[in-house]
């Protein structure tokens, strides 16, 4: 079986109250993350209250580039193999994602990657995956 990335049908993300700007941004190709208005730290996944100090938070667009922190490739997954990963964004936060648009058997920790938005089913918002730069 080929280890080249092949798209799987992705469940549409559940839009919970407070997460709308993340997925609205995704529809425009923007990766949005949250910063604390009090301590200025970014965090992930996004919250309305900062997980470091409980300050109020605001959305900012991330550059969309980062480094693979860890990954796991499932060669026998169905319908297509996929590679889950943690990517540390250049802004400093680490997010769960998948690696895309490459030979998944060649993925390495420490690889530089950039965001690529992938469509989900039922006209759901696209979700951010990452491809090697």
């Amino acid at each position: 079986m080929s280890t080249m990335f092949q798209a799987n049908p992705l469940p549409a993300p559940v839009i919970e109250p407070g997460t709308e700007p993340y997925f609205d941004g995704a529809r425009e190709g923007k990766l949005m993350i949250k910063y604390c208005k009090s301590c200025s730290k970014p965090h992930f996944y996004p919250r309305t209250l900062c997980p470091f100090c409980f300050g109020d938070t605001e959305w900012k667009q991330a550059k969309g580039t980062g480094t693979i922190y860890s990954f796991s490739f499932m060669p026998k997954a169905t319908p297509n193999p996929y590679c889950i990963a943690y990517v540390t964004l250049d802004e400093g936060v680490t997010m769960m994602t998948q690696i895309a648009d490459c030979d998944l058997a060649t993925v390495k920790i420490g690889q530089k990657v950039s965001v690529v938005f992938k469509p989900t089913t039922a006209e759901g918002a696209p979700v951010p995956m990452f491809k090697p730069i």
Binding site: P75, T94, M96
Partner: protein, 389 residues
């Protein structure tokens, strides 16, 4: 307040089934409870405290208490931390006993994932209102790839090898050959593990635990009651619990909550690692064991690979005999949660009732540790230190 010396494990029972298509989950809970009561020499009406977790059908413990006829309860607790819930239950039962809230506590676990076709390859559906779900569920997080990412990072940071991880499975298989109830009784080699197919890199099929039906139960009682019973005395000396997640996006897969739960348990028990003659270490995957051994302090961080290699975990061969029942890797992982079996085998060892081929000589102090949830994202940790009196 300490729970040291305040409570004893007086009953322990592991359901012998590994496949139970003809039994309900509630029935497996009840049969496990009956077995533990018979082991202790107690009766149903003696129970005044009850503990169960998310594997129990119904709302909290209400359905199970009703089903089993627990009508004398004055203390209940359905703390849910996945597979380590039952170790936390032992600690909480001791706290309740010390506070005078109950005298004899029952803890049960049961499930039939094997008959239901549930494994660590499917996404677990804990509800869409969990705050991480919108940001993670689309990417296919399942149990095995979560733990696999921990293994991948450990290999990257510390040079840990697949061969070293395989030794954990090899050790478990050496023990399982003596357990007639174990699902997998064949002794395997490092090569067998490495030659089994990848499920989620870098974990092979034989790096993963079994999927089994089954159950288990424990009875925890106050000292005055324990000393009236006819069973060997197994006392709780120390306990610790913790929860660790993604740290607001500062994800660090190099350590687990065991760092905290273990330190707290050792401090309360006032024992050192050299005092531990036997350890039950949660083994959902080989990497789970390696991480916990490091975080509990049995070796330095990053040196777990060397520590587990060359049979060091095999009873009668290595320095730290572990999971002498065959563990989750070979014996049993009922309800896809192995916590209670970790305590049960520790009790067997302390009583001198483990299989003679794996019984640790002069086993007076043992440790049991559990990890629940997903080591690669968010998990609970619980440590118990037990002593034969």
């Amino acid at each position: 307040m300490t729970i040291r010396d305040k409570a004893y494990i007086v009953g322990a029972y592991e359901h012998p089934t590994r496949k139970a298509p003809d039994k309900s989950v509630a029935q497996l809970h009840a049969e496990s409870a009956k077995g533990a009561l018979e082991d202790a020499g107690l009766k149903l009406s003696d129970i005044d405290g009850y503990f169960c977790a998310g594997d129990a059908p119904g709302l909290g413990m209400i359905s199970m208490a009703d089903y089993m006829g627990l009508t004398n309860l004055r203390h209940v607790d359905s703390t849910e931390t996945g597979g380590c819930s039952y170790l936390i239950h032992v600690s909480h039962a001791a706290q309740a006993i010390a506070a005078g809230k109950c005298d004899i506590a029952l803890i049960t676990l049961a499930g039939r994932p094997r008959s239901a076709g549930a494994s660590g390859l499917q996404p677990r559906n804990w509800g869409s209102d969990i705050p991480d779900v919108p940001f993670e569920a689309p990417f296919g997080p399942v149990t095995v790839n979560s733990y696999a990412m921990v293994a991948a990072r450990h290999m990257y940071e510390y040079g840990t090898t697949a061969e070293q991880l395989a030794w954990i499975k090899v050790a478990a298989s050496h023990h399982a050959q003596h357990n007639p109830h174990a699902m997998l009784r064949d002794v395997v080699t490092v090569e067998d593990v490495l030659n089994s197919p990848y499920v989620a890199t870098p974990l092979h099929r034989l790096d993963c635990c079994v999927v089994s039906d089954g159950g288990g139960a424990l009875i925890v009682a106050r000292p005055e009651i324990a000393k009236q019973l006819k069973r060997p005395l197994v006392k709780l000396r120390g306990a610790g619990e913790s929860v660790k997640g993604q740290l607001g996006g500062n994800v660090d897969l190099t350590y687990s909550g065991a760092r905290k739960s273990g330190a707290d348990a050792f401090a309360e028990a006032k024992v050192t690692h050299q005092d531990i003659k036997y350890a039950s270490i949660y083994d959902s995957f080989t990497i789970t064991v390696l991480m916990q051994l490091e975080d509990l302090g049995f070796c330095k961080k990053g040196e777990g690979g060397k520590f587990v290699a060359d049979g060091n975990l095999i009873s009668g061969v290595g320095k730290l005999p572990f999971n002498t029942d065959g563990g989750g890797l070979c014996n049993n992982h009922p309800a896809n949660r192995g916590g209670i079996t970790k305590v049960i085998e520790a009790v067997r060892q302390l009583r001198g009732e483990a299989h003679p081929a794996v019984q640790v000589k002069n086993c007076d102090i043992a440790l049991a540790h559990g990890t629940g949830g997903l080591l690669g994202s968010r998990h609970g940790s619980a440590t118990l230190i037990l002593e034969r009196e």
